[in-house]
Structure formats: structure tokens, C-alpha cells
């Protein structure tokens, strides 16, 4: 038997290496804890420019104290996992390989194709331009939500950071809009994962 005859398809690299899959699902748990408890905290004192509260059926924690307890516990999971993920994403070159380059022309082309339902997703290992933009965008929203959260939690100790967000009251709005961005991303992300189930499988078993 010659070497050329050995099938190689079974041994091809996983679409998502284990560290991506593990950190993805830890992040999924963490972000749901943060969003649910964040909504509970929001309800204690809705932002003055908005006239709504989140229904208690979708908030985490029975009242404010529990919401805060979840939020300030979940933050360790979210931030620690996020730091590991971003560090590995940069160190392994995965971010550079998967998310760049993002050309505006490609974004427009892929967006039009996506809206027509004609976007190919045969190769899960390559992201289209819209995907690249969304993943990069949600990464940025993740950084903003952590920094604005820190500036709300510690507006005296980290007062320079709070000032960067325009002061305590404005930092609350920034935190809220970063949450909204992440929730909007999640809606699209989860819908597409359900429409293309093999992408969900790839994030669980790797291929």
C-alpha cells in the first residue's frame, strides 16, 4: 500500500479546536447569567430615557440583591473566560486568520447574498464577510461591556475609566447599549445556528 492511498479526510483538522468550543460554551452560560441578572438590576431603577422594565419571567434572581449576586459572580466567569479566549485567539493567530481581512466590498456583496438567501455556507471553516464583521463587532461589544461595567461598579477607584464613558450616569447607558448589541447579535447568531444545524454540531464536536 502506498502512502497516497491512505484517506486523509478523517484526520483533517477540526473546524473549531477544543479551546474554542470550551470557551464558547462557558461564554454562552456566562452571558446568559450576565444578561438575565443585568435585566433584574436594571428593573430596580430603569434608565431615565427609557420607559420600560424587563418582565420578571425573563430576569435572573428574585429581587435586586439576588440579581447583583448573580451579576457579580457571573462577571468572574465571563471576564476570566473572555481573557483566555481573546489571548488564545491572538496568540494562535486564529483571529487574524478567521476574521481578517474584512473588505467593505465583500461585506456589501455577502450581505446582499445573505438577504436573498443565496449565501453559501458549505465550508464552515471559512467565514463570509458579514460573519467576520459580526464576530469582530460582538468582540468589541464584549470589551465595551466589561469596561463600562467596571466603571459603574467602581466609579471612585476606576474614576478615570468612568470619566472615559462620560461619567457614571452615561456609563450606565453605554453598558445598556453594549448589552443591546450583544442581545441583537445573539438573536441572529442563534437563529442562524438553528437554520444551519451542522454549524451547531461543529461547535459541539468540532467538525
Amino acid at each position: 500500500m502506498t502512502a497516497e492511498a491512505i484517506p486523509v479526510s478523517k484526520t483533517s483538522a477540526a473546524i473549531h479546536p477544543p479551546w474554542v468550543r470550551v470557551s464558547h460554551w462557558i461564554n454562552a452560560v456566562a452571558i446568559l447569567i450576565m444578561i438575565g441578572s443585568g435585566w433584574q438590576i436594571y428593573d430596580a431603577s430603569p434608565l431615565p430615557l427609557f420607559n420600560f422594565t424587563f418582565p420578571t419571567t425573563i430576569t435572573l434572581g428574585g429581587w435586586l440583591a439576588e440579581g447583583i449576586a448573580w451579576h457579580l459572580a457571573g462577571m468572574w466567569l465571563f471576564v476570566t473566560n473572555g481573557i483566555v479566549y481573546v489571548t488564545l485567539g491572538l496568540a494562535t493567530g486564529r483571529f487574524r486568520a478567521k476574521l481578517f481581512p474584512i473588505r467593505p466590498r465583500d461585506v456589501v456583496r455577502d450581505l446582499v447574498a445573505a438577504l436573498r438567501g443565496k449565501l453559501a455556507h458549505d465550508d464552515l471553516s471559512t467565514y463570509n464577510a458579514v460573519q467576520k464583521l459580526l464576530y469582530l463587532g460582538v468582540l468589541c461589544a464584549g470589551v465595551v461591556i466589561v469596561l463600562s461595567g467596571l466603571s459603574i461598579w467602581k466609579p471612585v477607584q476606576f474614576q478615570q475609566l468612568t470619566t472615559l464613558f462620560g461619567g457614571y450616569d452615561r456609563a450606565r447607558y453605554v453598558h445598556f447599549f453594549a448589552m443591546s448589541t450583544i442581545v441583537a447579535f445573539l438573536a441572529v447568531h442563534v437563529a442562524l445556528a438553528l437554520i444551519v444545524p451542522k454549524s451547531l454540531r461543529a461547535m459541539i464536536v468540532g467538525r
Partner: protein, 256 residues
């Protein structure tokens, strides 16, 4: 667990009464009713969400967060101060009772009791307290609920008072008892912070009843609920004596 609104009953009063019935502080973290997004999507059917396990785990992490916050606390870092023009003069009454239920303290008979690890345990009349050197601060009051208001408070530095009464500043805590059932305990480094104040005035006027007459402890490095009003006693101690909201599940340190 479903939530039902009882007609003719103010839910806030109901919650307040229910809280009184609960046997011990640790039970007061009502995790049983925590049917949140995490529970629905991930942890449903799993004991962790509504069992004592989650309750204790969250309480332990909250105590860990106390230690982290104590490390983050810089005794020399001042809370931002603001110009007179930014002071909210109407401010906001906030308590677990209504404004007309706020304690009425008689200034003629008022005495501040001092106890614990201090040399001089004599109690202080209002006239004696007013005679202490005073200074004004314009700082942001931040409520645990999220809202914030800029206020102007005038009074004596707590650190000066603690030195004056010969307090053992190596002790871990200072506990405050209020004229109502309220109390709170703070860490000694925060008690010694230069902006931690025994406040006698709000917006240059004698502290009104609704804001804690005759004395409030103003701590701009902590959330509002750690700023006790109508203070009638303080105790320098090595034992954490807890507090009204701390016993009900708010994070103990709650530093800003």
C-alpha cells in the same frame, strides 16, 4: 413559583412583611423564585438554580468580592467632587419605609452613644457634635438600584472623631445603629477615609428629617445604603455586626 398580585395589598409592604417572617438572614436570598433566563435556557430541571447550593455559592462569591473590593480600595483616592451648581437641592428621600414614617429625633435629648474599642465612651450631645471642626463636600450619591444624585453635605471627618475618642483604629469595623431599626457595619479603612463624614447639614441647611436628622454618615466611596441616617450609636469592633440590607443579601463591602 408563580407571582400573584393580591388585590388591595401594596406589594412592597407585603415583601417587607414577608422579609420579617423569614427565620435567618441566609434564608433571605429568595433563590426559589429565581426563574431567570439562565434558568429557563440552561439550568432548568437542575437543582443548582433554586437549591441551597446556589444560595451558598453566591453568598461565598459575595464574600470573596468583599475581599477583592477591600484590595481595590485606595485609602488615598478621593471620590470626584463637583461644583455647587451641580448640587441637586431637592434630592430624593429613600428608605425601606415611607417619608412620613422617618424617625423623629428630639435634638434636645439626642445623644450619640459611643462604644467598643475606644478610650472615651462618653456619649455626645448634638451641641458637642456641632462644635467639631466641619467641612463641606459635594459628591455623588450612588444608590445600589442604579440612580445617582449629586449632593452637598457638611460635617466632621469621622477619622478625626475616631482619633478624638481614642478609637483603636487597628480594629476591623465600625458599626452604626440608627434611630429606626436600621444599622450597618463598615470596614476601618473606609471609616478613616478623608471623605467619610459625620454629616449635620444637607445643602447648607440643618440635615432635614427625611435625609437623616440629626446625623448621617456620608461615605462617598460606598453605595447609598452603607450611608446610615439618624445615627444614634457607633461601635468600634472586630466583629462584623452586619446591617439591615447586608443581612438581606446585599453585598457587604459595596464599595465604589
Amino acid at each position: 413559583m408563580s407571582r400573584k398580585i393580591v388585590p388591595g395589598v401594596d406589594p412592597r409592604l407585603l415583601i417587607r412583611d414577608a422579609a420579617k417572617l423569614l427565620p435567618q438572614p441566609s434564608r433571605r436570598l429568595f433563590l426559589r423564585s429565581a426563574a431567570g433566563i439562565g434558568a429557563l435556557t440552561l439550568l432548568s430541571g437542575c437543582d443548582i438554580i433554586d437549591g441551597d447550593t446556589a444560595e451558598h455559592a453566591l453568598a461565598r462569591i459575595s464574600r470573596f468580592n468583599d475581599r477583592v473590593q477591600a484590595l481595590l480600595f485606595d485609602p488615598n483616592k478621593l471620590a470626584p467632587t463637583y461644583p455647587e451648581s451641580m448640587v441637586d437641592r431637592t434630592f430624593r428621600f429613600n428608605a425601606y419605609y415611607d417619608e412620613d414614617e422617618a424617625p423623629e429625633v428630639d435634638p434636645a435629648t439626642y445623644k450619640l452613644e459611643v462604644g467598643g474599642l475606644v478610650d472615651d465612651k462618653k456619649s455626645w450631645t448634638l451641641a458637642e457634635l456641632y462644635a467639631l471642626p466641619q467641612e463641606k463636600q459635594i459628591t455623588r450619591h450612588i444608590c445600589i438600584e442604579g440612580w445617582s444624585l449629586i449632593g452637598s453635605w457638611t460635617g466632621a471627618r469621622l477619622s478625626d472623631f475616631l482619633k478624638r475618642i481614642g478609637a483603636d483604629t487597628r480594629a476591623r469595623y465600625v458599626w452604626f445603629q440608627c434611630a429606626d431599626t436600621y444599622s450597618t457595619t463598615i470596614d476601618m479603612p473606609t471609616a478613616l477615609h478623608p471623605q467619610t463624614q459625620m454629616s449635620f447639614k444637607f445643602a447648607d441647611q440643618t440635615l432635614p428629617r427625611k435625609f437623616g436628622f440629626p446625623m448621617k454618615i456620608r461615605i462617598p466611596t460606598k453605595l447609598g445604603f452603607k450611608n446610615p441616617k439618624h445615627v444614634v450609636a457607633m461601635n468600634v469592633t472586630n466583629k462584623d455586626l452586619g446591617g439591615y440590607w447586608e443581612d438581606r443579601g446585599y453585598n457587604w463591602f459595596s464599595g465604589l
